[in-house]
């Protein structure tokens, strides 16, 4: 039974050592620029990578995490990825066109954060670009449920859309973790993660991640890599080159549809900070 379910696409994976994660994007440098159609430089830590490069080195290590002057103990960020917390995905990867900047999946190294960093997006209000959702309720994006079953996602239309979380106050953000719908592995286009000081997203807008390689979203060309949506989520490093967390109140995640025309679907967004 199992052998018959192993598609050819997975044979390449058999050559890899036991994997436990996927390399997240390199993250983007916060840029103090208003939203515009100008090319926006994204954040660059030491772990700059593209799909064509060799696997990215680890994200900022212990020294950088404390570069802001904190001497607090560092712990590996725990995203709560227990066996019961996630959904088993449909085996195999889709066979359609792959974008040129699709990254190679490698093990995600532990992301070290100061002790006390927690998901500050939990139960916070969410807004979005659509007036009416095709499925789900926006509360589902911050309810700590990372399953990807039939009723576990919020669906917007195809095309570029965004969801935005109000953290309630300015927070020192170390990382943003995003789960798009992953039961069927999907490559979503134009994933852009930004933060701002105001609800209207005009003040002090900074880009943390941008994998829009052809500027189709008209928000600037991004250098980050495309990825398959997986149960381990996409972890975006929100720290600056000096290792300091980004301070912001509002977090927005843009996504255009999937490469196969899939509508935009989100399962959960977590913002790790203090």
């Amino acid at each position: 039974m199992i052998a018959s379910r192993v598609p050819l696409a997975c044979l390449g994976g058999l050559l890899l050592a036991c994997l436990c994660g996927c390399d997240e994007g390199s993250g983007g440098a916060p840029t103090a620029t208003a939203q515009s159609t100008e090319a926006q430089p994204t954040r660059r830590g030491k772990a700059e990578a593209s799909a064509l490069d060799t696997p990215a080195p680890t994200e900022s290590g212990p020294a950088e995490a404390t570069a802001a002057g904190s001497t607090s103990e560092l712990v590996a960020l725990d995203l709560g990825l227990t066996l019961d917390a996630v959904t088993r995905a449909t085996p195999g990867n889709p066979r359609g066109v792959k974008p040129p900047h699709l990254r190679e999946e490698v093990k995600r190294e532990p992301f070290m954060v100061p002790k006390g960093v927690a998901n500050v997006a939990l139960y916070q209000p969410v807004t979005c670009s659509e007036k009416r959702l095709f499925a789900g309720d926006l509360d589902q994006l911050t309810d700590d449920i990372k399953q990807s079953g039939k009723f576990d996602f919020v669906e917007l239309d195809t095309g570029l859309h965004w969801v935005q979380i109000d953290l309630g106050q300015v927070r020192a953000i170390h990382a943003v973790a995003i789960w798009h719908y992953y039961k069927n592995p999907t490559i979503y286009q134009d994933v852009i993660v930004q933060v701002a000081d105001d609800q209207a997203f005009r003040q002090n807008v900074r880009t943390l991640f941008n994998n829009d390689h052809d500027n189709s979203a008209r928000m600037g060309t991004g250098k980050d890599t495309a990825f398959y949506t997986r149960w381990w989520g996409e972890l975006v490093n929100a720290r600056g080159p000096d290792g300091a967390p980004t301070r912001a109140r509002h977090v927005r995640v843009y996504t255009a549809g999937g490469m196969e025309g899939e509508p935009v679907r989100f399962v959960e967004i977590e913002v790790y900070g203090m």
């Binding site: 039974m1 052998a3 192993v6 036991c18 994997l19 227990t82 088993r88 995905a89 309720d137 449920i145």
Partner: protein, 317 residues
């Protein structure tokens, strides 16, 4: 049929032994590795209890475990095999396990009919598992002699009793609201909270007009925003035909309200359905759940309360 549940862990363990690790997909190997690494079972946050309300003297969790899954009614529209599938899956052992899971997650009350199967299971549960779950019994007393059926429920261990929805609808249609009042009186004389059920809004309307002194209502509430609600010919697909009118009327009712069929028997997203019912004025949600749904459903309800529930009807329990 083996009673053990073939969970993901078992599946991976057997798959690994039978076919060798190399034959597994990447994801299965990843999950297997996590299992071998001694991934800890999910922690239960005992501090995140379910909010509670009161029905008479009973403290009742805002989420009540529905009994159809115990009794075997699946409301599966035209999928004729689903009820049988549910009964095969929900063996006695599994139901006992589910009740235990419910209590562990803060659900302290189950609502079901008093026939043999739930009666046997609940008594086993209290005796063998030491469970404390309260039991709201769905009763169909004979209007000519209300006592036997009500006494049966009391003797079986009921914590509260209500008149079954379909039963109450029939009596209301026949103009026998006074019979409902007698049933309520007898239940209350025996020291238990007494309720009246209904799918149709006609039932609470008639009871309020007649001044029936029930302690609570059990009334369906779900939105019509699901595919099979629009079926031209009804076939076990809809239980609240007038949700807006129900919400509007229940605003005038001061008795506690247990809303059931809030997910339209599985057709509605739980977050959407629970939110709709609580915002619409329900004091309690009665939800039929499989064991694999309990944790997530409780988490959803806890989250809704933590965010704050905006509603016009005051909490009546």
């Amino acid at each position: 049929m083996a009673e053990e549940r073939l969970c993901r862990r078992d599946f991976l363990r057997r798959a690994g032994i039978a076919c060798g690790v190399a034959a597994l997909t990447l994801e299965e190997r990843t999950l297997l590795a996590a299992q071998k690494a001694g991934a800890a079972p999910p922690k239960e946050d005992k501090s995140a209890a379910l909010p509670m309300g009161k029905i008479g003297k009973l403290n009742v969790s805002r989420m009540i475990c529905g009994g159809n899954l115990i009794s075997g009614y699946a409301h599966s529209r035209d999928l004729v095999y689903v009820s049988r599938l549910m009964q095969e899956y929900n063996t006695e052992k599994r139901v006992l396990d589910t009740l235990e899971l419910c209590e562990r997650h803060g659900i302290n009350t189950v609502l079901s009919d008093p026939w043999d199967k739930p009666r046997t299971i609940l008594n086993r549960y209290w005796k063998e598992r030491g469970g404390k779950i309260q039991w709201i019994v769905d009763s169909r007393p004979d209007p000519k002699d209300v006592k036997p059926k009500i006494k049966m429920a009391i003797d079986a261990g009921a914590s509260a009793i209500y008149v079954n929805g379909g039963w109450a609808e029939r009596l209301v249609k026949q103009g026998k609201v006074d019979a409902l009042a007698k049933m309520v009186d007898f239940i209350q004389e025996n020291g238990l909270p007494a309720g009246i059920g209904g799918h149709l809004l006609d039932v609470p309307v008639a009871c309020e007009e007649a001044g029936v002194k029930a302690d609570f209502y059990v009334k369906t509430l779900h939105s019509r925003q699901y595919w099979s609600s629009a079926a031209q010919r009804e076939h076990d697909n809809i239980w609240c035909r007038k949700p807006a009118e129900t919400i509007a009327f229940m605003k005038t009712v001061t008795k506690p309200w247990i809303a059931y069929k809030t997910l339209a028997a599985g057709a509605v997203n739980p977050t959407v359905g629970f939110k709709y019912a609580l915002q619409g004025g329900a004091d309690f949600l009665c939800v039929g759940m499989f064991d694999f749904q309990v944790a997530q459903d409780v988490k959803i309800v806890q989250g809704l309360f933590k965010r704050g529930i905006q509603r016009e009807r005051p909490w009546r329990a």
